[in-house]
Symmetry: C4
Subunit: 197 residues, 4 copies
């Protein structure tokens, strides 16, 4: 089975997730700037979630760039990742509409945590499919980002009941860490086939 | 007519169906875990329907993998399948919001039944187009899964008026049967052209 | 400019149009079959509109099958067509929710009429781009379907104020006429290049 | 990294943006033409925004036509552009539902302004990636349209507090300027490789 259709389907789902989040930005009834104030936290959680979906799309892109063939395990690991990403609009809206209340803020972290775990499973499924000389395995190396993120999310989930502001700061910080694009895969691909990448 | 555009369109529709189901998860007004309780059944029916759409996408992928050319009959059989799949969000929401009331649970089964029949028609249209030496026909073989599912759904529809819990258990069971990926098509393709698949 | 990206974008828009129409099927509050009765007309107008979008996707597919290069005029004619098709969910819901009231039924016809005119403009733009030996022009021939549809829609719009049932019957009839796939283009393509189509 | 997947993802997002705007056209409760009157301004802002998204898709198409490889900077510049375009449905609805009240009309201009700036950043990222002999840089030339638009939007934002009608006239005028397709890129491509374009 080739990877192009799994990419197209994932692109479609990610494109829809990133766009329906904007539907949570309810059109305010007032006509002055004051009317926008209640939607500021919803807008902020939209921006954060947009960046997160962008990061996932970006990394997903890199992941499948090193994968030409997909197995059934990869396919389901990918759907599992998309499932958790599909909960971003819901949890972002719950957090945003309640102005960073503790439980919704922690719930947002749980969805982020499950998504990063699902991403890790997807990586494992691809590496297992590629066998011992896996291009992706050598590209990932120690994968400190992949190991750091769940710890940050876990801390943020617990801290949400102390101060949701710290949690949301941690979510933003974890996004910043991922924003730096994953050049490792590109670098390894370049080494192997300098003419292509 | 080539099959790539029918695949792209179906991918688009399936990606949207799988994603708009999440819109039925209405953001709760409360800010504690208690507030999530009313949406637990909606969430459960979302998970089940997500898996079903995933299964259909997966099998659809395999189906068109063995099909390079499409006829008008295949095109309309495909649209017919997409029509029934497009009713998943509606029937999942009706079942979920009413906490497995008998009629909505039976209605969910009717949509599942119609979808599996539509899938069967699509298979027939592809086999008819491929002619007597149809790759797909030999790949399907006895197709016990395709024959078992409608019977399970029919039983579940009737049992919904006895106990909706049995019905939803049957829906989950039928999903599990399909979750095991359809390796038959891949196996036959491998035999014919070991270098490709 | 190549036609593959205009096809991908149109596929995306059509996939979304066909799917968001189902959002108009509001989940009923009751839990028995009686609760479904108020949404029967909405469901009927959903089925009709699904078939219409399917027909447009099908014909769009054939149209661009004979077109490898696109001009700016084709691009905008295509967007113009997509604009009118994007009004299908709105007008189908207005007609369906008001149980075939005269004005909404006529409005549905106006959208159908504008869409068929937009499709005609798109055909003209492609023929103009292909020049005097246009493959599409010879494939279309007398194009009796393209000429019959606007007359049916015009009659249905006027008759909506006499009997909306006649109008909706005419809309269904016009859909049936188009359901028979446009084999003309395929036939001409086969003649020119028997190995390809 | 190749540009085809970034195009597919952008096509998906743009297709969804252009289509969900129509969801703001709430189905009226009345059944006569009078019932449509309140949605006339929403409809007008839908038409304007549809044209704008069409223009961006069109120009985006041209932009990536000259770009085969994408860098991380291009990828994020593209997501940044999509972010501002994703706010079109929200700001169009706010302006439309409030019958061109000053602040919503100015806010619409701010989104247009940010989008054109994001588009400019994307151009710069592509030119920087292509290096000193950038095909795109020579194709753009003086780029008077790209320089004129932000000035028009800025004027319209300020004038919204004098007369929102002047502002919306300016938005429509700026759209008309962009409607004339960007033939510069095609022309330069033709010169370089007359057989391709």
């Amino acid at each position: 089975m080739e990877s192009n259709r799994i990419e197209a389907f994932s692109d479609g789902v990610l494109a829809i997730i990133i766009t329906i989040m904007v539907l949570e930005l309810k059109v305010p009834h007032g006509v002055d700037l004051e009317a926008l104030r209640p939607i500021v936290p919803v807008f902020a959680s939209y921006v954060l979630s947009f960046i997160y979906v962008g990061i996932y799309w970006n990394n997903h892109h890199h992941l499948f760039h090193s994968t030409k063939q997909v197995s059934a395990a990869i396919l389901w690991a990918n759907l599992h990742l998309l499932f958790w990403l599909s909960l971003f609009p819901f949890s972002a809206a719950w957090m945003g509409e309640n102005h960073l209340a503790p439980t919704p803020t922690a719930a947002y972290g749980v969805v982020l945590l499950m998504a990063v775990i699902a991403y890790y499973f997807l990586q494992c499924a691809i590496i297992a499919h590629q066998g011992p000389n896996s291009l992706l395995a050598s590209a990932l190396g120690r994968d400190w980002k992949g190991k750091l993120s769940p710890i940050i999310y876990l801390a943020a989930i617990l801290l949400a009941f102390v101060s949701p502001w710290i949690s949301s700061g941690l979510y933003a910080f974890a996004a910043l860490v991922w924003l730096i694009p994953d050049r490792r895969i590109e670098r390894v691909l370049e080494k192997r086939d300098p003419g292509e990448a």
